[in-house]
């Protein structure tokens, strides 16, 4: 998003973060093994920016978000918010400064509470406002997300998906936080409503000077909203770059595949030949050795990729990638799987032009 005064002050500093969920079984719940949902993530979020975290389901992006907010305890590593370790912060302080908007707006609201009490609850809990003042503040919050004052006495089921997400956003804004984690805020919405919510998010960010971490699986949304993007695969960040760099010269093969897999409503199919990855994402309980992507990677090399784990290394300004063979701009990725619909002209090589 547009944010002119770009101070490179690091707001959120994540180092070596791990979150392993134990798999318990047996008579007396002995720990058999671990699901490595987040397995060694280093990430910095700069004040005022929007950082996108993309990845497929099961890659650990939601877990990462929850650990950042302290909703679930971390296994290893550290998260510093504005220089403070979040484990040292009190819950009340944490929630005042960091807020979250969940994916399913209906599921994150108590159906028996009116909008006034949903949006106003953080204010009453923190003893900020009550009575007429509370009503006024809730009305202001609703107005700032494009809802009307008389929506206040209604209940969540009376609203459409887009409106519910607006209410969730109003609730997140009620304590005037500095940081909001958006966990797939538009995945459950229709496209025309998604556009409205995305615009609203941008407007609110520029008005209130907020820092966003935007978790999503939709790369096109990321391209529109975010300034920097981190791509996750099986609990690790495989590539992180400025949005412009990532979309113009992606370096990790997985990023390539992800970008080519997005169906776009345009007709120039020849320019966007698809890379269809074979197979599924491996289980995070038993991740493959070496590079975690090597089982599906078209350019994986035996003896290297399946043995040695690549480190996240810088290949340009603000652009890091975890791959033994990062692709430079203009390089081609061989098509894995079969391409059933070759274009009419035969002089197109069987590769993807990048």
């Amino acid at each position: 998003m547009t944010h002119d005064s770009k101070t490179d002050e690091i707001l959120l500093d994540i180092k070596g973060l791990r979150k392993w969920f134990p798999i318990k079984s047996g008579m007396l719940t002995t720990v058999k093994s671990y699901v490595r949902a987040v397995d060694g993530v280093d990430l910095q979020v700069i004040r005022g920016e929007t950082l996108g975290i993309v990845g497929e389901s099961g890659c650990g992006k939601t877990t990462l978000g929850r650990v950042i907010l302290g909703l679930i305890p971390m296994t290893e590593g550290s998260v510093h918010y504005d220089g403070e370790d979040i484990r040292m912060m009190t819950n009340r302080d944490l929630r005042r400064r960091l807020q979250i908007v969940f994916q399913d707006p209906g599921g994150s609201m108590n159906p028996r509470m009116s909008v006034r009490s949903i949006v106003g609850e953080p204010l009453t809990v923190n003893g900020i406002a009550e009575g007429a003042e509370l009503t006024q503040r809730v009305a202001d919050l609703l107005a700032s997300v494009g809802l009307k004052r008389d929506h206040m006495n209604r209940f969540p089921h009376e609203f459409s998906g887009g409106q519910k997400q607006r209410i969730a956003l109003a609730r997140a804004l009620s304590l005037d936080p500095e940081f909001i984690l958006l966990d797939e805020p538009t995945s459950a919405l229709d496209v025309s409503v998604q556009a409205q919510v995305l615009n609203l998010l941008q407007e609110i960010q520029s008005k209130r000077d907020l820092t966003f971490v935007f978790i999503t699986h939709a790369l096109n949304v990321v391209n529109h909203v975010c300034e920097r993007v981190a791509v996750m695969y099986l609990g690790k960040i495989v590539e992180i770059a400025n949005t412009k760099d990532l979309f113009s010269k992606p370096a990790h093969p997985y990023t390539h595949a992800l970008m080519s897999a997005i169906p776009e409503p345009s007709l120039d199919k020849v320019a966007r030949r698809r890379i269809v990855l074979s197979g599924d994402v491996p289980s995070p309980a038993n991740p493959p050795p070496g590079c975690r992507f090597h089982t599906r990677c078209p350019i994986a090399e035996e003896g290297l990729c399946d043995v040695e784990e690549p480190k996240l290394e810088s290949i340009g300004e603000g652009h890091s990638v975890a791959c033994h063979f990062p692709l430079g701009p203009g390089m081609k990725l061989p098509i894995l799987g079969d391409d059933q619909n070759p274009p009419e002209d035969d002089d197109m090589p069987n590769t993807v032009l990048l």
Partner: protein, 539 residues
């Protein structure tokens, strides 16, 4: 000119609710040609799924008018007027007859047995007779239901959005796929004759025991040893003494003996197992031998038929082979293992493949795919879409692809139909709709999707369609899109727009198609309109 496979004409349906009827579809016209991939696109609540469910006769709504023709045969059913009358009258007479019969049962008991019994017989006869008349009046309906059962699966199949809820969690993959095929007589001749299978089932408890001995020799021999010990103890009369030593034997001695050998965590895990075993042994030694014997005999008698029946119901090897070959066709890796799996053991993409395999097993001519990839990740979505396209190319199956994702439509379809609030607003070839859309809704929808295309001018604010899809309860005289449309005027409010052929094969339902020729201009009007809309304060 390809022949028409499915023709939907003037379909109008409503749902009866407590708040009165809700009209879900208003005159829907839709054609699918042979071997064509037709896209049906629209936002949630616009009637895409209702259209498809009405087509295969699974909808729970009432059909007001219209026709759905598959290869010229009508799929919708409505009783003739006389049949309807007969059903109504017979239903009422039956109800009154049954009620009167109940009254006369009490009459016979409480007042006058002879009188009561006579009336009871008369009324019973009347109600049974009228019920039979009503049943005969439903003959046509039953014939149609039978026909629809044949059509579903054989001719038209449907893939549902959520494969987890569409598959039965209690049955294995092979069972579910073979069931569809059995229903439609697609299974090959069984490999083993029936008599042989019966014999096999009868000895199945023995084979089961053998298998247990082979696969888990330690557990099996431990159980046998315990049983032998208990029997011997009872027969030689030291059961009473033995039961007092059981806890010591089973728990204390092994625990203390293995302290040095086993780690603490394993000991902790073994402890409850030991207690359970000791309790069972204690009970078996404590009860009289006759009671123990009786329990064993009864439980064996109960279990044997179940084991035999389950074995008899197992799938024939030839059928399993058939299912495996179908799974191979949808490129499921390692199909031999997958046939014996349950849906929860499969990943989302695999489940959707099983679903597609099930639907393709009877080689239908038309496949209705209701949001087949919405629940899947993008890389898996790419695999599934490619699979569906290949099936079309190999077998010539026509596909009606229902989705809200215009990207998927662009990827897959030959033609597109755009729906909005229960009516069709635009249809035409994929090329026409994507590059020369004429209905303002389509234009707005296309622009409101963020792209990853780098060359397109990057707008800071995403273009939007203001407002939201109207409540289906609301009644509109004119165009249903007019509250959100920048071009709306009195005409749009009062008169429903006709489908205008803006170019050959490209129809748009709009009064102002003359103002929508330039897409950029329309988007400009949308932007102005959206700004005004926000100012008016209606979110």
């Amino acid at each position: 000119m390809p022949s028409k496979l499915l023709e939907i004409e003037g379909l109008r349906v409503h749902f009866d609710t407590l708040d009165g009827p809700i009209e879900a579809l208003h005159s829907v016209n839709l054609n699918v040609d042979q071997g064509q991939i037709m896209g049906l696109v629209g936002e949630s609540g616009c009637g895409k799924s209702v259209t498809s469910l009405v087509t295969i006769g699974l909808a729970t709504c009432d059909i007001d008018e219209g026709s759905v023709k598959y290869e010229g045969k009508e799929l919708l059913f409505s009783d003739s007027e006389s049949d309807k009358k007969i059903q109504e009258i017979s239903g009422r007479i039956t109800a009154v007859g049954v009620l009167a019969s109940i009254i006369f049962v009490f009459w016979a008991i409480l007042i006058d047995p002879v009188q009561g019994a006579t009336f009871l017989l008369v009324f019973l006869f009347v109600s049974i007779a009228s019920w039979l008349v009503g049943f005969a009046g439903k003959r046509e309906y039953r014939r149609h239901q039978k026909f629809m059962r044949w059509v579903r699966g054989n001719e038209i199949s449907m893939i549902f959005q959520e494969p987890m809820t569409a598959l039965n969690p209690l049955y294995t993959v092979e069972k579910q796929i073979s069931e569809v095929m059995r229903e439609h007589d697609r299974l090959v001749k069984a490999e083993t004759p029936r008599s042989f299978r019966v014999a096999q089932a009868l000895v199945s408890p023995l084979t089961l025991a053998f298998r247990a001995m082979r696969l888990r020799p330690q557990s099996a021999s431990a159980i046998l040893a315990v049983l032998a010990f208990v029997t011997v103890a009872h027969l030689y009369g030291f059961a009473d003494d033995a039961k007092n030593w059981v806890f010591l034997l089973v728990i204390v001695i092994p625990l203390s003996a293995s302290r040095t050998l086993l780690s603490a965590s394993i000991l902790l895990a073994l402890l409850p197992l030991g207690i359970a075993a000791a309790l069972v042994m204690f009970l078996m030694l404590w009860m009289p031998f006759s009671a123990l014997l009786g329990m064993v005999v009864i439980s064996t008698l109960l279990a044997l038929p179940v084991i035999m029946a389950l074995d008899y119901l197992k799938l024939d090897p030839a059928h399993t082979q058939q299912v495996i070959s179908i799974l191979e066709a949808v490129r499921i890796p390692n199909p031999i293992a997958v046939v014996n799996m349950y849906p929860h053991e499969l990943s989302g993409g695999m489940r959707q493949r099983v679903m597609i395999a099930m639907m393709m097993s009877c080689e239908p001519k038309l496949l209705i795919a209701d949001e087949p990839t919405t629940a899947l990740d993008v890389t898996i979505q790419a695999q599934i879409l490619q699979l569906m396209r290949d099936l079309r190319d190999e077998k010539g199956t026509a596909i009606l692809l229902i989705t809200h994702d215009l990207g998927v439509i662009a990827e897959m379809c030959d033609s597109v139909t755009v729906m909005y609030a229960g009516s069709i607003v635009e249809k035409g070839s994929i090329e026409a709709i994507l590059s020369r859309p004429r209905m303002p809704y389509t234009i707005g929808l296309l622009h409101s999707i963020p792209t990853i295309d780098d060359e397109s001018e990057h707008r800071d604010v995403l273009p939007i369609i203001p407002g939201q899809v109207p409540d289906p309860n609301l009644h509109f005289d004119g165009c249903r899109f007019h509250p959100r449309c920048p071009f709306a005027d009195e005409l749009c409010i009062s008169t429903p727009p006709p489908m205008i052929e803006v170019e050959p094969g490209h129809f748009a339902a709009c009064h102002h198609t003359n103002r929508t020729e330039n897409v950029a201009d329309v988007q400009g009007s949308f932007d102005v309109f959206a700004a005004e809309y926000v100012l008016k304060g209606v979110a």
